[in-house]
Amino acid sequence: MAGKSEALQDLSVAYVMQPVAAADWLIIAPVIWCILVGALLLMLRKRTDLQPLIAIPALALLVLMTLGLLVHVFQSGTLSMTMGRWLPPFGISFTVDLLGAFFAATSALVALGAGIYGRSDVDDTGRRYGFYPFLMLIMAGILGAFLTGDIFNLYVWFEVLLISSFGLLVLGSERKQLDGAVKYAFLNLIATTLFLVATGYLYGLFGTLNMADIAIRASELRGTAPLMTLVTLFLLAFAMKAAAFPVNFWLPASYHTPRLVVSALFAGLLTKVGIYALLRILGMLFPFEREELSFLIAIAAALTMILGVMGALAQNDIRRSLGFLVISGIGVMMAGLALGSPAGLSGAILYAAHSMVVMTALYFAAGVAARLGGSFELTSAGGLYAKNAAIAAMTLMLFLSVAGLPPFSGFWPKIMLVKASLDIGAWWLAGSILVTGLLTTITVGRIWALAYWRPAVHEDQGAAALGPLPAGATIALAGLVAITVAAGVWPEPVMALAQDAARGLLDPSAYVLSVFPVEASQ
């Protein structure tokens, strides 16, 4: 029993003694909020009418929380809170720098979009299978991964989001979904196991799992064989999570099978968590080893972009085509990681945030298109522009944005990455980014020409239309389109944010200082 005699001992050797300011609760609040609301919704499983009414305001509040966290981090620098009062590195730290806060805020916006879209896309059966509870729990996993400062904890959040993603993937248990889910589940199991193996080795090497602690000690083992092995293992595990070539095959096999809103959420967020982990671990903790591996990463990046977009060009199903475009975007982010310069990393960060919003919005657009035209197949879709010009115009903006054409949000990070590659003379990397842009334009141009611009193939098409377009779908799509347009027309704030986040990655002293305030001041 922890008796009362405890008060006589000196607790400051084991405990964090200074009280926690109320504003610092923002560090952990988004994750707790998601878990609590998710649990509440799971208890209300049968009340399918209540679920969206609770979940959508909860997600709106989540957006406010993460935006508040972003502002707080922007004003007062990296923040840290160690669970259970134990002094770091013994307690599990949540450490939020600009990178984590930026990604958290963007993903919360995307999740709000998915919550609103899901109101019309997920029927009662899907809700009984737990769409909204799993949406909240997957957000807990994603936000936990973005905000944590401990590598084993990162692994746990990966598992939380993975298990919730299984639940979302088989919503309704259709044959196609089960087929896709088997491939998704086993291949992701291998990726997380590799991550766990790497974590075990990391603990064996450093004797600590706290990221700030590792950042201090990484230089002791710089470039040694065990550390290089370890970093390569991390690279493989996270590249598999992010669906980079040559370990990308699980994504096109599964992302077109679940409900559309689930595909949209996965395409926007899940692969970006892999990219975040790559940026955090290779970019911040082991920059020297990343430099050694940079050529390998650059080749993988170039192949991912080009083969991804070529896959997209060959597809007949719009959703499968978009799945390959997700992979192609991952290649662009990996290019930024390979460069490793401030410009390269900030380009990768900005592109990841852009991709979260735009890929989700593109899937929404595909869902709206299928509702209007009755099919995801390019052979039979057509005449969508004539049916609803406003939706078609929004979709065109998204198409231009994903291709990286101005004045949309995809343009700026690509410019930053091309310039960063040319600065170090990697003309072939810059060239493959530009070629990818060209091929993406052709891909989306083809979809636009066939599904939107040409006249309807059959006259009766969409006669079995599912009634008028639900307001929720239009609002979610329009909201995300507005974000990509705003970030494209007025890029300075987000660019400055991405550059600050990249500086924080390259010089982790502020990160370390927030976890170990005493040690650093000595």
Binding site: Q9, F152, V156, E159, I163, F166, V170, S173, R175, K176, L178, D179, G180, A181, V182, K183, A185, F186, L189, I190, T193, L196, V197, T199, G200, Y201, Y203, G204, A253, S254, H256, T257, N316, D317, R320, E377, L378, T379, G382, R446, A449, L450, W453, R454
Partner: protein, 125 residues
Amino acid sequence: MEPILAMLVGALFTVAIYLFLSKHVIRILMGAAILGNAVNLLIFTAGRVTREVPPIIPGDADALTGAAANPLPQALILTAIVISFSFFAFLLVLGYRAFQELETDSSDDMRVAEPVGDKTPPAGY
């Protein structure tokens, strides 16, 4: 002790990878179970194997009196066991449902989600 454990970890990984290369979902499941154990043993070995007492502070002391075993790898393994257990339970149900619905447990025949004999879309419009 470490070399023996290292060899055992290697053997378990070999078995798991061999099973993963099989076409049958049930064997892949077995592979997943063995892989989980292999990784747990690996973490245990990486956390240094020592012949020491559990790290329990006696009631009348403030700190550990002598050398003690490292509890952290065990905490990590416990977490990993819980996670791999829930994973295995999910995969078992998923594999069984897939077998019922798709009437096959061979991954070669699981092609429902893949496009078969697609018509190519028209080149112009």
